[in-house]
């Protein structure tokens, strides 16, 4: 694990991505952070039921890809998918409303935290069975390849996913068919409550398996938004032009436990503190200031983000619960659920 930390100390690539993109990356990370922190506050107020899995500390990955992707590209993510869904432009009130089980939720209260989807924004679903969505993302990529649309599918998952069969099936399948799909492993060092290195035969659970599918071994600092953005751009554009899939391992750390139920006590003392020093937002803010961007500009981004989160919270709180009349709707394409005549 120490070696992983060392790897992350690599400097960001010296490519100027322009101030506009930098501010967009910052804005998006702030939005994801503030919105998820609000989701956590709403749990504490018992306004969010069920479970939830936060990406606090991992925002640079969703943000880097969110900024790099074309509006008609597709995102597939896991039950830890609030950030990735928001990063495609899904509304905060739709996300918070879904977590709260309100009518204004993205799924009208039928999916919940683990299934956030906003097809109009290219967020093609959050999948709560480990590994299931990797082949689904491959299928979307096949559709893009077949129709020649140059769309790319991006599929996010955790380090734990690399030990399930669907991961290997999807990687091999995508490589053989040369599909425009980017698999992004967010290695936050823990599969649920267990250190990933104690249950995985190789050091880098994704990157060290890449060669088995004829793919390049790629490890990126997942807490560096610039590095994530540049990596995303490189492999998305390659896939768009017919260069086939990529498997990217982004090293990161979640600030909270696996889920709402997990205080994360299995983590060694001091580990979280060390990673809090490498908080992606904190690091990015410092970098932008060093590069001459005015503090007031960043303050404004933060203030505006908080205004949006507050407004979305108010909207979600004001939204009524779903109507019981809708419970049997939308099993079938005709809008109903009839299984007999």
């Amino acid at each position: 694990m120490d070696t992983n930390v060392k790897r992350k100390k690599k400097e960001a690539p010296a490519i100027d991505i322009g101030q506009e993109t930098k501010l967009e990356l910052y804005r998006m990370q702030v939005d994801l952070r503030y919105c998820e922190k609000r989701a956590y506050d709403l749990f504490l107020q018992n306004l969010v039921k069920g479970t939830s899995h936060l990406s606090l500390g991992q925002e640079a990955i969703a943000a880097g890809f969110g900024v790099a992707m074309r509006p008609d590209d597709w995102t597939f993510c896991t039950y830890r998918g609030h950030a990735h869904t928001l990063a495609r432009g899904a509304s905060m009130s739709g996300v918070l409303g879904e977590l709260m089980g309100r009518q204004c939720g993205l799924l009208g209260g039928k999916g919940g935290s683990m299934h956030l989807t906003d097809v109009a924004k290219g967020a093609m679903g959050s999948y709560a069975i480990i590994g299931a969505h990797l082949p689904v993302a491959a299928g979307a990529a096949w559709s893009a390849q077949y129709r020649g649309t140059e769309q790319v599918a991006v599929c996010f998952f955790g380090d734990g996913t690399t030990n399930i069969g669907a991961f290997h099936e999807a990687l091999n399948f995508s490589a053989v068919w040369k599909l425009p799909v980017i698999f992004v492993c967010e290695n936050n060092l823990y599969m649920e409550y267990t250190p990933i290195h104690t249950v995985t035969a190789v050091k880098h659970p994704a990157a060290d398996r890449a060669s088995a599918y004829g793919l390049e071994s790629i490890v990126v600092d997942g807490n560096d938004a610039d590095a994530m953005y540049l990596t995303a751009m490189k492999y998305i554009e390659r896939a768009r032009k017919g260069g086939g899939p990529a498997l990217i391992e982004a090293m990161t750390y979640r600030h909270s436990g696996h889920s709402r139920a997990d205080p994360g006590k299995y983590r060694p003392e001091g580990e979280l503190d060390k990673w809090l020093e490498r908080d992606p937002l904190k690091m990015y803010r410092e970098r932008l200031l060093k590069q001459g961007i005015a503090g007031a500009t960043l303050d404004d981004i933060e203030a505006e983000s908080m205004r949006q989160v507050d407004a979305a919270t108010a909207t979600a709180k004001a939204s009524p619960p779903p109507s019981i009349d809708d419970i049997e709707k939308n099993v079938w394409a005709d809008g109903g659920s009839a299984w007999r005549n």
């Binding site: 299934h115 069975i129 993302a137 299928g139 077949y146 709707k329 099993v331 005549n341």
Partner: protein
């Protein structure tokens, strides 16, 4: 009308739909260059090319996941799972993903896809290549379930399944692949969710599916000729949606219901039909409902054992004589 085998009707149905709609694509193991291990897809690669008819690795999760991802982004894939037993290795995709995604996303995602699979006994393949698993599928809300008994139904119902906006699990009976039957020429599309009355009698109504339909017909002919018992035979054809109106009407006319099921006893599809008939047709019944099924055992492979396990014409005759006459 042309006489086609059940297996040729599969290829004819797929070809009809691929010709009609370029968004129809077909993937699976050994389906393209080899024409399918049951030779049910011969000629499709030559006709439609490798872009639309694609061989896959032995990766059932990848096959169904790819079909799902393609379906949600504008294609109408047909995926083959070589043996229905193999659905167990990709059941997550069927039961958790494909069947539930429309509902969970409140209608945002549509999945117009067909999963074709070879189902059932008759080939002495043993318990992992011979199961009748249609009742597994029937238990999952959100997926349609079809199992044709005749070549014409294969073509017509397969076409209907491809055109359906919802996911359909299409069970082909492997013991019927060589069966011949008249199939309408030209474009032919049937209707999902419709049972068919194949003969009418006055003493009892036999409700059957896939290969059991043929045994029910043979049993009915024998019972009429040798024992003067006249039976209605209903081919269910589609378990989801289920044509309960036809079944209830035909049971009401004879006052007796016999189901003939290839699946093992517990939670077989006949149990659901028995329950519906008991609820809604009770006062028209003249006696207990009879379910004829495979015993609740893994299917054995030896000729004598497999033949004994699966409901035979003789067993159907015997049980109807004992319990109905």
């Amino acid at each position: 009308m042309a006489e086609l085998t059940y297996r040729d009707a599969v290829a004819a149905g797929i070809a009809q739909e691929m010709e009609r709609d370029e968004n129809v694509v077909f993937l699976g193991e050994d389906i393209a260059a080899a024409g399918g291990v049951f030779k049910a897809t011969v000629g499709l690669l030559e006709k439609f090319g490798p872009k639309r008819v694609r061989d896959t690795p032995i990766s059932e999760q990848a096959i169904l996941g790819a079909a799902m991802g393609a379906a949600m982004t504008g294609l109408r894939p047909i995926a083959e799972i070589m043996f229905s037993d193999f659905l167990a290795v990709c059941w997550d995709l069927v039961a958790n993903e494909i069947a539930k995604t429309r509902y969970m996303t409140n209608g945002q995602i549509s999945l117009p896809l067909v999963i074709r699979t070879a189902n059932g006994s008759g080939s002495r393949f043993g318990a992992q290549h011979s199961q009748a698993v249609e009742n597994w599928a029937m238990a999952i809300p959100g997926i349609k379930v079809v199992a044709p008994a005749f070549p014409a139904d294969v073509k017509g119902l397969l076409a209907a399944a491809v055109r359906d906006p919802d996911p359909v699990l299409f069970f082909e009976q492997k013991s019927l692949y060589s069966m011949k039957g008249e199939v309408p020429d030209g474009e032919y599309v049937d209707e999902l969710g419709t049972a068919r009355v194949l003969r009418r009698g006055k003493d009892c109504t036999i409700v059957a599916l896939a290969s059991m339909v043929h045994r029910a017909l043979d049993a009915a002919a024998f019972l009429e000729k040798e024992h003067g018992i006249s039976c209605t035979v209903v081919d269910v054809r589609s378990l989801v949606p289920l044509d309960t109106q036809t079944i209830l009407a035909e049971v009401a006319l004879t006052g007796r219901l016999v189901t003939v099921e290839e699946n093992p006893r517990l939670c077989g599809w006949g149990a659901e039909i028995a329950s519906i008939v008991a609820d809604e047709c009770f006062w028209n019944l003249d006696g207990p409902i009879v379910r004829i099924t495979t015993p609740h055992i893994p299917l054995p492979s030896a000729d004598e054992l497999e033949d004994h396990a699966i409901p035979s014409v003789e067993r159907i005759v015997r049980e109807i004589r004992e319990k109905i006459d």
